[in-house]
Amino acid sequence: MKIFIMPPNSLILYDLVERFGHQPLSVMGTLRERVSGREMESPPLNVTPADVTKGLKYAGIEVPSGIRGRMAVWGPMIDEAEAAIIMHDTPFTFGCVGCHRTNLLLMHLIRKKKIPTIEVNYPEDEEEGKIMVSKIKTFLEGLK
């Protein structure tokens, strides 16, 4: 099954989903096609003006273009997703996952889609790591 991961560029979640036999939908995979398939207008930025228009499907015109640009990349991934894993307490708020409003909108869209979803927290010690991994494993095995 195709599993949407949140944060969408998480190494931990990508690895766990693949390890337990599912296909992770990650922002890296989507961006790979973009950065290698065509010339980007302004290299390290990955969002084009056309993407901002495309993002209108997921966020209104009054929403900042940064959110719409991000949604142009992440929105189709949610459309494709059959299940989702959300990891809370992300201690980093910069880079492509640094927009809190986009993250809130993503979570809203996932919940609205009513696909099987599990919400866990970033582990802070080994005990929490064990709980997190066992919850994710049970969830992913239940999807088969």
């Binding site: 560029n9 998480s10 190494l11 709980i131």
Partner: protein, 133 residues
């Protein structure tokens, strides 16, 4: 992208040599955190389980958006690495994930801990008064 957990005794050099020894026609780049591999999808799909088998619970693998040595990202070309901070944070958390993977492998029960309660005002006042004594 293959990342070695801080608890692993593997070095990026050993990892890169192992991947070379598999004999697949894929590009391999040794990095400070592990290695990057690139090539035909089928070959990568064959190589990944073998690479993971080297140290199953301490090697973590994900897809990377930019190709190996891409000038927009490669440090050798002064490329920017906006995603590095997240990788660094997750790298530090990998030992916790390793503990989790070992626990599920051994069939250990991992009951959820009760949520931490917030400190009540009465309790806070009591602590503050104790401190003053």
């Amino acid at each position: 992208m293959i990342m070695i957990a801080p608890t692993s005794e593997l070095t990026p050099d050993q990892l890169a040599r192992f991947i070379h020894s598999l004999g697949y026609e894929i590009s391999i780049k040794e990095t400070c955190y592990g290695a990057n591999i690139e090539g035909d999808k089928d070959l990568i799909a064959k190589a990944v389980p073998k690479i993971r088998g080297l140290d199953p619970n301490r090697l973590f693998i994900k897809v990377r958006a930019y190709p190996i040595g891409d000038e927009r990202r490669c440090r050798a070309h002064h490329g920017s690495r906006p995603g590095f901070n997240q990788l660094e944070k997750e790298w530090m958390d990998l030992p916790f994930i390793e503990a989790g993977l070992c626990a599920v492998e051994s069939g250990e029960e991992c009951p959820e801990k009760p949520k931490r309660k917030r400190l009540s005002v009465e309790k806070l006042i009591q602590i503050a008064e104790e401190e003053n004594i």
